[in-house]
Symmetry: C2
């Protein structure tokens, strides 16, 4: 298994990315290879600096870098030798099994759509965020930021792909799918949420359990939380900030620690023909290390294959 990583993407790249990869390499299964994509001399120097001497890290050269503030589409077309462009080329040609990056999120998303493309039948791919639940485990929330505006049928499809995601990632037979809303009754909420509720209710491919509210976020009401990328992004970042608040207040708690963005480290883009994982721009070495661990599991789950099969 080959895990491709954009060594140049992120606020603290390439240092934090390479350090994270070296940390991950220390405990990697022997069948896993890390492929760092970036400026070869710099990345090699850092691999040496962080003391890695094994054979599970290789470096693929990329001359250019897409900066954080750049326009995604423009940057990708103007920089075919950027680490993001080369990462997606490797992914498309199946030279890597997953491409992970903490750089320009828009460019990662557009890169996925332009290279491996959306699965046939998918209206809009989504980013899946993992929400730690009080009872243990995670709920998968989608979308957490790829699609700020979602039509009801897009939310319905999130229910289908989220359900497949939860089934093969968490190993749950009939994942409970809930719609984020502002009331439990089906006539509550925005026009889009009301319409989506009806579509989800009538969709017999999923185990729809109705609406949930912001206050139910951690309460194990569902395995899959459906929402648009606007609300989802705001909720996900607020939940992450709970860890920050607790940490700043000197509170150390196993459960609240799971809300730390570093704990999972990466979020999958689901609905495209391959495995893509994006990480926070601020990613630390620990976050990158954990993202790599998580990436191995995502490769094994082969979500995109199951989604393609379900939609064919």
């Amino acid at each position: 298994m080959k895990i491709g990583i954009d060594a140049m993407g992120g606020d603290f790249a390439p240092e934090a990315i390479v350090e994270g990869a070296v940390l991950a390499a220390a405990n990697l299964p022997t069948n896993v290879q890390l492929v760092l994509i970036g400026k070869q001399d710099i990345v090699n120097q850092l691999v040496t600096k962080y003391g890695y001497q094994g054979s599970q890290i290789e470096v693929v050269h990329a001359e250019d870098v897409v900066e954080m503030g750049e326009h995604p589409t423009k940057a990708l077309s103007q920089k075919p030798h950027s680490s993001i462009s080369i990462g997606f080329k490797l992914l498309k040609e199946k030279n890597i099994d997953i491409f992970c990056g903490a750089g320009n999120t828009g460019a990662m998303h557009v890169g996925a759509l332009f290279s491996i493309k959306a699965i046939e039948g998918i209206i809009r791919p989504a980013i899946v965020g993992l929400v730690p639940q009080k009872k243990g485990g995670y709920a998968a929330m989608l979308d957490i930021g790829a699609n700020a505006d979602c039509k009801p049928e897009v939310l319905e499809q999130f229910g289908v792909i989220g359900s497949i995601y939860a089934q093969y990632t968490f190993g749950i037979d009939k994942p409970r799918v809930a719609l984020m809303n502002i009331g439990e009754e089906e006539q509550k909420g925005s026009l889009v949420a009301q319409a989506a509720h009806q579509l989800l209710k009538e969709n017999n491919r999923i185990n729809f359990v109705g609406n949930m509210e912001g206050g139910d976020f951690f309460d194990d009401k569902a395995d899959v939380i459906i929402t648009d990328g606007f609300t989802g992004n705001a909720l996900f970042k607020l939940a992450e900030s709970f860890y920050t608040v607790a940490s700043e207040r000197g509170i150390k708690d196993d459960y609240i620690d799971k809300m730390n963005y570093e704990a999972v480290g990466g979020s999958s883009i689901v609905g495209v023909n391959g495995n893509v994982m994006i990480a926070h721009g601020i990613s630390s070495p620990t976050a990158i290390k954990n993202m790599i661990t998580w990436a191995c599991k995502q490769v094994e789950a082969q979500i995109h294959v199951h989604i393609a099969k379900a939609l064919s």
Copy 2:
């Protein structure tokens, strides 16, 4: 000053409401009178049961009750003798200075619109939630649930009324107004958020400081947080649930305790010709007591008078 309270509204009414009023009455300024609206014999019995013997609580009889699940408009037209209907009648006739209730939120909102009505020029009144900030004090978020769908010009007006709210409630000269969004750059976000950003930026009545994200919720980025009632409701309830998580984990922290819904107890409906405050259906006696304290401050702030003046 007369604080009207729906004694029959809420999951634990009338007991919790009357007990809360009695708790509040123990420390009430001498110029404040509590007016409990509900079934006179029951409410009087409870006032006695909870040991109140002073003269700052009076009871106004209401024969009927709007139940939690009832359709707001229907219930109000069919139940003119309900505690909510009578509360708004008293408010309209200026026999009370504020009407507070923990019952059917929709009925409280519709009751306000039908009785004291929206201030001339107000497109949509909003519910204001108080978000405790790390540095101390609160940010006022609107809307937290009255309007699930908001057009850009509605969000712009929330900026104006939210700014007045913060000015006279918090005593801040030029409150910082931020738009909840999923990125800092002005071209980020949903179509509505993008359009609202432009309108807020060009509005010279307010001190617009740009976008904020879910992760900035507690970080004192703004005194006023503008968002639609869908996202606002979800965020507000999620933030409240952080107190629940901490409490269940045995964590006791002064700052996190402020996220407890009981700490403020009530949220003002802003943009109508009078003072109206709504509370959680689950309100405990402590929540009701704190809502009453907060209601006294809201009456003094006279937000509706300042808004009417600003829009005239």
